[in-house]
Symmetry: D2
């Protein structure tokens, strides 16, 4: 049998004028939950790919880049080995999986409002969670993360915000504001650190990343932006660590390698000292964009990605 | 008047299953030279964009990233301020432009086999060359670069190879082999350095980059791969510096900043010490791919990108 | 909420250089049967759309055109009101549905080799079959149609061949040959007629249609090609009636309207006398292509659509 | 050399959810005139293709269908062989070419407001005009057609309106109204006929065609809609003849063939008696849409295609 041309394509546009395209080999899951439209597509190039409201979240082929980049810089920026961690969002369970690599961790809470997405990931994406949901240290809750943080007094050594960007005015907006980050800070232990995904860092598309960076600087003493190229997104992606004591920008490659050896069981595929240097070494035009951004995102003036 | 949907699109595929797409606002130039198919497209997102044989070479919007990344790491890796430079390929004149920023340079030769492309760029891309072709230090030649190097005995402090990848078996193949790099090395002064563009560095598409890296290690004492995300390509792009005395991997951010201040007139938009750290800090999986690549590219066994 | 751009597209190419594209609103079913890849897509423009091996078969929005065009010209070309009918293929059940509109019909057999497709259509495409599978006159069999005809001696007043084109060498090829059409002819009653879908009739893509037309002329005394534009295909589609006694080309609009009034219960949406005139009035260049085609398709020299 | 994948595509969408796509082999001309954006693209499937404001007008490969369909039904619906003709629009010169096939014609005026488009077609599309502009019977004027008709008192046996659809509110709107058609009628001789292109006739996209049909019925005693599938449009296209004495719907195939033999020099590729039958035999759902359309387009309430 001759191999046919791919006939179904997924287009992820950044503007009306540019985009990245994937051949769809097969649609494994497509449904609408109470909160969002969910697809698990088999893309020809990257294998199983989670898509929420039309935006790629992660793919089997390169999720190690995204999830290692999201978790480890923050987990290595806590003052002492982290014992407790909170994941806000993180439906696939891969963020949890990376946290559970730390034997020091005794408690890992994940709060994702959309229980249906989590169930679909449990069933269809075992390659991503790899049993993380069954770890005895794990607690999964399905509720609004802000309400959870407001009512709880528990403190964590590490909190990571692994959320989709706010594509429209709605509850997600309230998880990208100075008030929310203040709440996160107050739920961190004195040596704690948070990390988050913070949007694209490609030329001309930096306003989300830089506004969040600016906003966090109002709340945390130490804020360090970094980026990693996520292949299936077709663009470098921004992340930020905000911490109380340890500044990732002052950790050199050797120190990072030593911390990894010390804190993590097994070996990583993406992150190490040189990768740290790569990711935190923001190119000149990105640093300039950060330096000139003045916008602080607040509950009264939230950020919506259009 | 309502703004219409873009109706012409340029698709740059990396495999049959993935690609990057650009809305074409207008075709400014389209012609066939003796050597290749040439287009200068006005893309909606990046302005004027040079396309050779269907592959994007550079765009007005982000060419500063590509050209600064190609030139400066090598020009900063010469033993002493470079006085002479040779560009192999480099049709737009922007590579030349970056070289001419160094007041120490008294002679800059560009050998591009396709005089028609150079003429088109002179006429239509003044934003890129910015007068570089008219600089009295410049000499432009249209001939086969390998033949030129073979017959000449002149030595340069810096040589940069700014060529399209060999998309088919042909003369370009002979500019990506151990024999050719040996010739380049022999035309460098004792403290000289070469740089080159070396293909994509995205996950799963690393074989060109790593094979060239491996091949150069047979020829040069010091070989340092690095990468920069080029927005209009939709992928990070690999470059390599191969030098005789100075190792870019041993230049820290401060040293790079000092060299830039010392050697370059005016300020750069992309490259500086932190960018150097970013670019040379190759992520773990790329270093692993380099370490395990065994292929040496030779005249007898050339590399063809498919 | 702002309406997002469609991000998943289905491309149906006729050549490597031209195609028709549909935004996919949702994938309702996607699976692989023993025989073919099956999708039921919700297209934004046409509603539920059945796709087999990457080729659109029919859509909710315009299937009345395809199925009325396939069935009625043949059912109106039998000598006397048809009493029995055989559908070869016809998975959706809509071909059957059109046949069952004739109160004269007491027996309607459908032989579709792929029982899984039929089950999926029963469940997911009630808009198409509208209960045809439950009609007491209906008998559905899942076996090879040629083997079925070879072993049976039953004769039908009408036989229709509603098959996908043979995209590769395989059993389907054997249902588009002179030998197979001879078998069909022998299973028709003396006044019987057959009809079939016979590929595109757009300019430059006529070879399938004309070869089948030429082949049928070796077998049947009367052969009449016709066409209908099927919107979701983006091309006019060819059909052929081959009959023993009645020539559709000699039925004028008034006669067709009278036959419809006489034989069919309820009213049709697409077919009537004027539509008959439209469909059988093949444009000059199509008639010329038919007249000059010499190829006869045989078991030994089958036809494969590439 | 391996043949590369086509990398530039032209998308012609009918809605936001459906479209037809063409690989672009080469852009031959692209410019902006005083009135519109003009491209002559070499499409891989159809050769040279004229595109105005992003909409395909005609292609080398199938323009015979469009231009024969536009001209001959009207030229065969004049009372007696036509002696004079007026083309409104018709930039390529192919409409003129078809008119000049009639030896009875002694005067053919073409009024196209955009002289730059006409010049480009003269130079780049000789395959279309085939010398029609140099025929001594031809007079070409570049001015507003409505103003021309208002100030002139000349009468023509045949007038054809070969205009782009009104894509925005502007002067073109005023060429698709009851007032304008009244003017056209008054400039026809007592046995004269007009024809026009009248938009798509695909299912669900019939409102332009049916509104114009309805409007013409307010002005002319005889109005006959018809359609032809134009391959490069990917959709059947509607035309209308409005005449004073002869009704095309009452011309049977034999009569049309006799008229062609009588009036036209040489032979046609698309149009003859059977094609007439095909084109005027509108399918049932189109006739129903015509019958139920109530909108009359007027200067005060013009039609804009969106």
């Amino acid at each position: 049998m001759t191999r046919p041309q791919p006939y179904k394509w997924f287009f992820e546009t950044t503007t009306a004028f540019e985009g990245h395209m994937h051949a769809i080999a097969r649609t494994l899951v497509e449904t609408q939950t109470k909160f969002q439209h969910v697809e698990i597509l088999q893309t020809a190039a990257y294998g199983k790919t989670l898509v929420l409201d039309g935006r790629i979240q992660s793919s089997q082929g390169d999720e190690f880049i995204y999830h290692e980049a999201l978790v480890h810089p923050g987990m290595l920026a806590t003052d002492g080995a982290p014992r407790s961690a909170l994941v806000i969002g993180g439906g696939e369970g891969a963020t949890l999986r990376e946290i559970l690599r730390y034997p020091s961790v005794t408690r890992a809470v994940m709060v994702d409002i959309d229980g249906e997405v989590v169930e679909l990931c449990k069933t269809h994406l075992p390659e991503m969670h790899r049993g993380a949901f069954d770890d005895p240290r794990t607690e999964v809750r399905h509720e609004d993360a802000r309400a959870y943080l407001e009512k709880s007094t528990e403190r964590f050594d590490f909190i990571t915000v692994d959320l989709v960007e706010p594509l429209e005015e709605g509850p997600a907006c309230m998880l990208f504001t100075r008030e929310f980050y203040t709440l996160v800070r107050d739920r961190l232990t004195p040596g704690g650190a948070m990390s988050m995904q913070a949007g694209m860092t490609k030329l001309g598309e930096l306003s989300f990343f830089t506004s969040i960076h600016r906003t966090l600087r109002d709340v945390f003493p130490l804020v360090a932006g970094y980026q990693s190229f996520v292949s299936c997104f077709g663009t470098p992606w921004g992340f930020i660590v905000a911490s109380k004591k340890i500044d990732p920008n002052r950790q050199d490659a050797r120190a990072v390698d030593a911390l990894i050896a010390d804190r993590i069981k097994g070996s990583l595929e993406y992150w190490d000292g040189a990768t740290h240097q790569h990711a935190f070494g923001l190119p000149k035009f990105i640093r300039k964009a950060i330096a000139t951004q003045t916008r602080v995102v607040t509950d009264a003036n939230p950020l919506i990605v259009t």
